[in-house]
């Protein structure tokens, strides 16, 4: 057996307590030089706490042993972490959109307490060198805001390289990338790794975890579950390790072709976004729509919800032609749309759970011309119970809830409007693997109660396992129809990622 190399980073006896809650219990963690290591765990499992200890943001409790690059520390400080080559690419990237790509990448060269002249030439050269190491070409003189999120991600990585990184943490780097952008990013991670930089990858997307990493550390409830080689792992095995539960993945698809039609879309077009889209959704049916980001799925959904105007074609709800001039019309007609961006569009984060839940159905809690607090509480209590949302008090801010529970409140908000058609746009983004199953249980229950549902997702397994029929959109058109009862998951994946 080959002897394993000395670890670049080695943590032992890491304990961390926040206000009486143990966030990390006796965790150990090793990273080998140049490896791609995946750190997996649900939200609240202690991943970010661990990263913050390694980067010096938090100090672990006494007894901890941190060895990095041959040196022992009892704790890190942000300054030592950075100067010794530990870099973090935060999920929100911490970039400066108005400044140029060059300045963003080489920003640390303009740091320092005392003013100096900026040497834009060397700034550009530093930036270009970092990009060249990643094999990427960008115009370094353009402002960063001219580039989409995928390129900004690359800029953030290039910035870490300028800091002479030996160990790079990437926190959910692919959360907002399309499949081809993700592939490109993974390619870059491989480039980094072959050039000797160790990468610790934190991702909810298990397929990527399996594709990119050689080893996997799983945390659950602040404790180490284990360290595993990635070869031989399966997605369902990782899910089991992360949640401690087993999930049976069976397809739900049923034949509902006998039910009455709720939504009929005929020849709907909005040039440049989608063309000639026709389909029906029946009572109790879940129609899955998948396709790459930018295939026109969200634009189609927004048109059905009255927020974009289709150029041509017809929308009929229970046989009646609809011409929405705004989403208020759509809500009144019984259409509900759960936005893909829950954090900024779907929920009003600082407001209370109760206020968020009733915001779309205020007319139902009016009594004698004024909003009735008691009616609000009754309505909220009913939905919280129905959807099994775990909350403290109704008046707590929505931001105190986990991703999965927030999503349940967002769904409840729309159910309270008593819709006939519910459109769910990427309902599991930012939701833990364990909590996803709960969301789909709710979706199934709603469909059984007769609601027509459109489920939009770029994760093919979600629509394969949870929808009755699957519509594949590509470049704004209907590319394929699939019936999960009659096809394999791989068939759809092959078509989508072709």
């Amino acid at each position: 057996m080959e002897s394993s190399p000395e670890p670049l980073l080695s943590l032992r006896n890491i304990n961390m307590t926040f206000g009486g809650v143990k966030a990390l219990k006796n965790v150990s963690f090793d990273v080998l030089p140049g490896e791609v290591h995946c750190l997996a765990g649900e939200n609240g499992s202690g991943k970010s706490t661990l990263i913050k200890i390694i980067t010096g943001v938090y100090r672990p409790q006494p007894g901890a042993v941190i060895e990095y690059d041959g040196q022992a520390y009892s704790h890190m400080s942000p300054v030592t972490a950075q100067s010794s080559g530990i870099q973090v690419i935060w999920q929100d990237l911490a970039l400066f959109p108005e400044m140029t790509v060059a300045e963003n990448i080489a920003f640390q060269t303009v740091l320092g307490r005392w003013p100096r002249l900026v040497n834009y030439n060397s700034l550009r050269k530093t930036a270009a060198r970092a990009l060249a190491r990643l094999g990427v070409k960008l115009d370094v003189d353009l402002p960063l805001k001219d580039y989409p999120i995928a390129q900004r991600q690359i800029v953030a990585i290039a910035r870490a390289l300028v800091g002479e990184a030996k160990l790079v943490f990437m926190d959910e780097p692919t959360a907002s990338l399309t499949q081809s952008e993700t592939d490109h990013l993974l390619e870059i991670v491989r480039t980094l790794s072959t050039s000797g930089v160790a990468v610790v990858f934190v991702s909810h997307r298990l397929a990527e975890v399996l594709e990119i990493s050689t080893r996997l550390t799983v945390l659950r409830d602040g404790a180490l579950v284990g360290v595993y080689p990635t070869s031989g792992m399966t997605q369902s095995r990782i899910t089991e390790l992360m949640t401690g539960k087993t999930f049976d993945q069976t397809i739900r698809a049923r034949d509902v072709s006998g039910n009455p039609v709720v939504l009929e879309v005929e020849g709907l077009s909005r040039p440049g976004q989608f063309e000639d889209i026709s389909f029906t959704v029946r009572r109790g049916e879940t129609l899955g729509i998948t396709g790459l980001l930018g295939a026109g799925r969200t634009e189609l959904a927004l048109s059905l919800f009255g927020m974009l105007k289709p150029r041509s074609g017809a929308i009929r709800l229970e046989g009646k032609p609809m011409h929405f001039s705004s989403n208020r019309d759509a809500v009144a007609a019984g259409v509900a749309y759960l936005s893909e961006d829950r954090l900024s569009l779907g929920l009003i984060q600082p407001q209370s759970i109760a206020d968020n839940l009733v915001i779309a159905s205020l007319d139902r809690i009016i009594s004698r011309g004024l909003l009735s607090d008691s009616r609000k509480r009754d309505l909220v209590a009913q939905w919280i119970a129905d959807l099994g949302v775990k909350i403290g008090k109704q008046d707590d801010a929505i931001s105190t809830l986990s991703g999965g529970n927030q999503q349940r409140v967002a769904i409840a908000k729309w159910l309270a409007t008593d819709p006939r058609l519910l459109i769910l746009d990427a309902p599991t983004v930012g939701v833990d693997v364990g909590a996803r199953a709960g969301i789909f249980d709710i979706v199934a229950k709603l469909a059984d109660s007769g609601l027509a549902i459109i489920l939009i997702s770029d994760e093919v397994p979600e629509v394969y396992f949870h929808a009755d029929r699957v519509l594949h959109m590509a470049k704004g058109r209907i590319a394929n129809w699939f019936t999960p009862r009659d096809c394999q998951l791989q068939d759809i994946e092959a078509a989508v990622y072709a």
Binding site: A94, F96, P97, M99, F107, R113, P115, L117, V118, P148
Partner: protein
């Protein structure tokens, strides 16, 4: 070329609006389109441009300041009194005192904003009232006409009689304005501190994670504006040859409108010195032209307001939409 136009869309839009207005004004009045008038404009706009480049730095750093114009009045008054005690002084001592007092008053704003986490608009509305209240209380609204000779005598750096008998002049305020403009430009685009200010205004959390000293950023931004306010105040006293306590009251909104017109963003991270100068010039050209055209001064505010709206709309609309031939196919959004 396309790249230059795209990255300076605001400046080009402003230039276009200025060109259109100038054309219009030179048709309806015979005096507008003359070198003499152009230099007049420069002389009268100097103080506002000095204020504007100072305010620009605060806007870039993500703040806003309502108090700088009355702070400049306080500086004028205190400087005049101090110079009286000193028995006269000179341009050098005058500028040092005015600049120093300005920085001090700016630092008060920065202190309130940084130490007590008061948002800048609230903090500076408060200091606006405090500064102005103190000034009116202690002066009882009395103006100072008895200023040192060096301060009230016009300094003409260059003059030339044109063939048509009109004079072109460059006066001291223009020189000071140009120094302030170039210094601000160099500071915010060519020094590391300037770039840190942009970064701080663009993404404060990102800047914090880089270890940028947030408190220092506030003091530098408000200190720079204070310095400009102090210098601008002294130059205004020189230009008006008197110190009237409420002379600059209300100037803050005119300057703020001009700076935002020039492309600076309320919220930080964006803005250029050129845009800011063009913004001030657009407003003064309009006022000057209306004056020459004999329009009632009561109509000025209304017309200036309308021009601000038109110019802001033009510069917010993407240039490709206005000029279809500039559009490029596909690619970036």
């Amino acid at each position: 070329m396309r790249k230059v136009v795209q990255s300076h869309a605001t400046e080009f839009a402003l230039l276009a609006v200025i060109a259109i207005i100038s054309l219009f004004l030179s048709i309806i009045t015979d005096r507008f389109f003359s070198l003499g008038n152009a230099f007049d404009l420069l002389n009268t706009s100097s103080v506002n441009i000095i204020f504007a480049v100072g305010l620009l730095v605060v806007l870039i750093a993500g703040g806003i300041d309502i108090s700088f114009a009355v702070a400049a009045s306080v500086v004028q008054y205190v400087t005049a009194i101090l110079l009286g005690w000193m028995g006269g002084g000179s341009w050098l001592s005058g500028l040092l005192i005015a600049g120093g007092l300005g920085i001090l008053l700016g630092a008060v704003n920065a202190f309130l904003i940084h130490k007590f986490r008061i948002i800048s608009i609230v903090a500076t509305i408060a200091t606006f009232n405090i500064y102005f209240g103190l000034l009116m209380f202690f002066t009882r609204g009395v103006s100072i006409y008895n200023l040192p000779d060096w301060l009230t005598s016009r300094v003409i750096l260059f003059e030339h009689e044109m063939a048509d008998g009109s004079w072109i002049e460059i006066t001291l305020p223009v020189l000071v304005m140009m120094i302030c403009v170039v210094a601000t430009w160099a500071f915010i685009t060519r020094t590391t501190t300037g770039r840190q200010l942009y970064a701080f205004g663009d993404n404060p959390e990102g800047a914090r994670r880089f270890g940028i000293n947030i408190g220092a950023m506030q003091f530098i931004a408000f200190g720079w504006l204070g310095l400009m306010a102090g210098i601008g105040g002294l130059i205004q006293a020189h230009y008006a040859q008197e110190v009237v306590p409420n002379a600059l009251y209300g100037r803050e909104l005119d300057v703020l409108a001009a700076v935002v017109l020039g492309g600076a963003r309320l919220g930080g991270g964006k803005g250029s010195v050129l845009g800011c100068v063009l913004g001030v010039l657009l407003i003064s050209i309009t006022q000057n032209g209306l004056n020459l055209a004999g329009v009632s001064p009561y109509a000025f505010k209304m017309i200036v307001g309308a021009i601000i709206l038109v110019a802001i709309t033009l510069s917010n609309t993407r240039i490709e939409r206005l000029l279809p031939f500039m559009r490029q196919d596909g690619g970036r959004t």
